[in-house]
């Protein structure tokens, strides 16, 4: 028997059902008698609803019911915002599931048709007439915050949903004394998360039992149950939320949406199961988007490139309403990371959360941290250029020196452990940095535009201590729980409250149990995603699942081990303190042949024929793990690009990533997370960006118009890692889900800017499309 499974890149245990097409995602689930819902959506970004006439739809073939905001008003409660940042003058205007009086973005729900087939439901939508009074529209979050801008909500002056300020040190003095200051305005466009599985909800109401079952594409079924209770008024214990197979989320399946509330409402009205599944076009219009920042940033430094201060003003678009976690993203998850991996003694920032006429904005992979890393890494490169030093060297001289157990930064948080310089060195070495610079010099001499981009990053992950969550206004906890249950045959189930949806934790979690208790990984089955058979948990986001749920599993496994030790002692007629454990065996010290395996113990505990005085039967343990601190993974990335100055086309030639996510349980899965994360960050640097026109119409409304990374656009990513354990985590792990996305946008952006510098181009807004790059080159050639 081997227990070395912990730390090994074993292939995933969830894969057989996925590769054979036998897995069930929400839209794959069929219940007898299911009706299908289609939702009528506003074609206007901002309009008063003067009237809705649904009578034309009611008689259409197959139509069973049509509901409007008049029907849901007073029955469904408004969709709650669940991150209420204290001290930010936060406004939370009403967010009805179906708009009754006013629509605030293209896609806002106006009515729902329920029919026997989806085709019939979609057809009938055309027979609902809505009389809209169009209103002026504002799209840019900065424009929306100005006096005289169109007002989305009556009680929210200047559309400012909240104002959050951060100050550490004396930033004004730092800038007054600075030898060098640099500044830029950085625009991070809206991004569309694009999980390959569109969102879906299947609601089944049992009037007889007063019970609601909701199959839902959610990253957090227990939160979905909690909010379904708030919105539908069905008691929480009468709601079962099931997240079956979920096809990616990247943050966009954290929020609670109007659509699941509407679907539940329809099932409750009609007493039959009702299913709604979004089209991709709907996904682009209504599923929460990411970023939408306008960042006005300044950095102060000495003439030798030592950073002395950072100052920001950020306008963060919120869309038409505040989505579930939206206010926390550009504040807690963004501003608190303004020091990055650097010593920056003086930091101040002001973030305005602003309503604008677009889809609601919420967490998208990295959530706040890519926006912070982008501005920092851009500023560091500008400082390097200003002082005439190599960007890697400027980073090195500003990195926080290695620390193993806590480091305070000016934003008021305490990083757990870090060795940023080693990560940078590893990355420079893996990339062959010196040779790269030499090749670049030669290329430039030959008239070619080659650029090298460097980034260092640290992220805040493993969310997080519940007391902190409460202090920063998160309307829930951030602990996780796990139950490990051994059966008489020595096999075990692990039940967790978090809900992985592609990250592979059915494997990773089994590896934790195998490592702690010496069982075969195939003898452990992980159960997640169903609120009826899993313990409470807060879900999968913020690189927290392995970090927090994994810790709960380790703690539960250690409880199992202690009970097993006591039972083994009893069965072996020895004192518990004389029992040693190794590789799934409990033996009397000095007599390894006198032993009980964990399987022996599982059998004896379950039959309970011979238990010690006072010991309960069974071999089961649960643990609630509330992390004492966040975790802070970090790393350094390098990209090499070549720009064709005649076309503006960018060729991403190399990408080198060195990440340190602490102890790795399954390095194969870690590497996969880095691959996917990096590509998701390269996307917005080069191709991705949602575009709304001045009327608030989404121009990039399909996969034809929104440029997602494709296989042929990318090189192989060169991945390696260092290991700096988290000092406060039972397994030393930190989390890896978002690292690539956080680092790669600035890395690629900096590489392109580096390539363009000899041409006199100093800034281009993302995404760096060939057209924008070509125009910037020509503008520079023509004297800027």
């Amino acid at each position: 028997m081997t227990t070395r499974i912990f730390g090994s890149g074993i292939r995933r245990r969830e894969d057989p059902r996925l590769i054979t097409g036998r897995a069930s995602y929400t839209d794959d689930i069929k219940l007898p008698g299911t009706l299908h819902a289609a939702i009528l959506r506003s074609p206007y970004a901002h309009a008063n609803i003067k009237s809705v006439d649904a009578t034309g739809a009611a008689g259409q073939p197959g139509v069973v019911a049509v509901y409007t905001g008049e029907d849901t008003d007073g029955v469904l409660n408004g969709l709650p915002c669940a991150w209420l940042i204290p001290g930010s003058d936060l406004k939370t205007p009403a967010h009805p599931a179906i708009a009754k009086d006013k629509v605030r973005y293209v896609g806002d729900a106006v009515a729902v048709v329920v029919a026997e087939t989806r085709y019939q439901a979609e057809d009938a939508l055309e027979h609902i007439s809505v009389d809209y009074e169009p209103l002026d529209v504002v799209v840019s979050p900065k424009a929306a915050a100005q006096d005289g801008a169109p007002q989305l909500h009556e009680d929210v002056p200047n559309n400012i949903a909240f104002t959050w300020a951060l100050a550490g040190g004396d930033t004004d003095a730092a800038f007054a004394d600075a030898a060098v200051t640099v500044s830029d305005t950085i625009t991070l466009p809206r991004l569309i998360a694009n999980p390959m599985e569109p969102r879906s909800a299947l609601a089944q109401w049992s009037a007889a039992m007063g019970e609601l079952t909701l199959w839902n594409t959610t990253q957090n079924p227990h939160i979905a149950r909690f909010v379904t209770c708030v919105v539908t008024s069905v008691p929480e214990h009468k709601i079962r939320v099931i997240a079956p197979e979920v096809g990616g989320g990247f943050g966009s399946k954290i929020p609670y949406y109007a659509d699941e509330a509407i679907t539940a409402f329809c099932s409750m009205k009609l007493g039959v199961p009702v299913k709604w599944t979004e089209t991709r076009s709907e996904n682009y219009l209504i599923t929460t988007q990411g970023r939408d920042h306008i960042e006005e940033v300044e950095m102060a430094a000495t003439s030798d490139g030592v950073i002395t201060g950072l100052r920001t003003t950020v306008y963060a678009g919120m869309g038409g309403y505040l989505s579930t976690a939206a206010p926390g993203v550009p504040t807690i998850l963004h501003g608190l990371m303004y020091s990055g991996p650097y010593n920056i003694p003086n930091i101040s920032g002001t973030v305005y959360g602003v309503f604008n006429n677009g889809a609601p904005v919420d967490a998208y992979r990295g959530a706040g941290r890519p926006e912070a890393t982008m501005l920092l890494e851009r500023m560091v490169d500008l400082v390097a250029a200003a002082v005439g030093q190599d960007p890697a060297e400027v980073r090195r001289k500003n990195l926080i020196p290695k620390f193993e157990n806590g480091h305070d930064v000016a934003t008021g948080i305490t990083y757990d452990s870090g060795d940023y310089e080693s990560a940078l060195d590893s990355c420079l070495s893996a990339a062959g940095y010196e040779a790269l610079r030499a090749e670049q010099a030669q290329a430039r001499a030959d008239g070619r535009c080659v650029g090298v981009g460097v980034s260092s990053y640290v992220e805040i992950c493993g969310l997080g201590p519940s007391q902190v969550a409460g202090a920063v206004g998160f309307q829930g906890g951030l602990w996780e729980s796990a139950i490990i249950r051994f059966y008489p045959t020595g096999k075990a189930n692990v039940m967790v409250g978090s809900s992985p949806h592609g990250q592979g934790e059915e494997t990773t979690f089994a590896q934790i149990v195998a490592g702690e208790l010496g069982v075969e990984v195939d003898d452990v089955e992980v159960i997640h995603g169903d609120t009826d058979n899993t313990p409470m948990g807060w879900g999968t986001y913020g690189s927290r699942t392995t970090a927090v749920s994994g810790a709960a599993i380790a703690v539960a496994a250690r409880k199992i081990k202690e009970k097993s030790r006591a039972l083994a002692a009893h069965l072996l007629e020895a004192a518990p303190e004389d029992i040693e454990y190794e590789d799934g065996r409990f033996y009397v010290r000095g007599s390894p042949d006198q032993h009980k395996t964990i399987q022996d113990i599982a059998l004896m505990a379950n039959v309970a024929w011979n238990m010690p005085e006072g010991m309960e039967p069974g071999l089961e343990a649960s643990a609630f793990y509330d992390p004492p601190n966040f975790t802070y993974p970090f790393g350094a990335h390098i990209a090499v690009v070549e720009v064709d100055p005649e076309t503006g086309r960018i060729d991403l030639q190399r990408y080198v990533a060195v990440d340190d996510c602490g102890v790795q349980i399954n390095p194969m899965i870690v590497e996969g997370q880095v691959h996917g994360g990096v590509v998701q960050g390269v996307g917005p640097a080069l191709w991705e960006g949602a575009v709304y026109d001045d009327d608030g119409q989404l121009v990039t409304g399909s996969m034809l118009d929104y440029a997602l990374p494709r296989a042929d656009l990318l090189p192989d990513i060169e991945v390696s890692s260092n290991t700096t354990p988290s000092p406060h985590h039972p397994l030393g792990v930190k989390g890896i889900g978002e690292a690539g996305t956080i680092a790669s946008t600035p890395t690629v952006y900096n590489a392109v800017m580096d390539a363009l510098r000899p041409l006199g181009v100093t800034r281009v807004d993302m995404p760096l499309t060939p057209e924008k790059v070509w125009r910037a080159i020509n503008d520079a050639r023509n004297g800027g």
Binding site: I19, S24, Y25, G502, H675
Partner: protein, 157 residues
């Protein structure tokens, strides 16, 4: 207005009365009850609905059911019995070529055709061959490795 159709799916005859406008992917998922084939977009971009139609890979969201009547369709459920895996399935598993799994059936079906046309593709050729299928999780790298690996297992090189 419905039309009778008969399509052989994974070797089994499936007949039905369908609307003329019904998409083949909906026939596969709803009428034949084979949900391994996914719907990921509505503009024929993502490739999650890729099947083989008379031996040629096709995006089943851009084919009408009536167009496929009389044809033979192979879906992800048809390339192996789910126990003894197709070399591509095995290779996707071995190479961590999937995360959420939603694009995987279409990706495997597209890769299958790629290998039937080019049994020994380079990584570059694989990347080009799969540019009609979108994966948002993996960054494609391990998918490319999986296809490369499957090509070897299938005797390509």
């Amino acid at each position: 207005m419905t039309v009778p159709v008969e399509i052989t799916i994974n070797g089994k005859a499936c007949s039905g009365e369908v609307e003329e406008r019904q998409l083949l992917v909906h026939f596969i998922r709803e009428n034949a009850g084979l949900t391994g084939t996914k719907v990921g977009c509505d503009t024929s971009q993502c490739g999650t609905c890729t099947v083989q139609l008379d031996g040629v890979s096709a995006k089943s969201c851009t084919v009408l059911t009536v167009q496929a009547s009389g044809s033979s369709v192979t879906t992800i459920e048809g390339i192996s019995d789910g126990v003894d895996l197709h070399p591509l399935q095995e290779a996707f598993w071995n190479n961590h070529g999937l995360q959420c799994g939603f694009c995987t059936p279409g990706m495997i079906m597209a890769a299958n055709e790629l290998l039937s046309k080019n049994p020994s593709p380079t990584r570059e050729e694989i990347r080009h061959g799969l540019e009609g299928n979108i994966c948002r999780c993996t960054g494609y790298q391990n998918i490319v490795s999986a296809v490369e690996d499957a090509a070897k297992a299938m005797g390509g090189r």
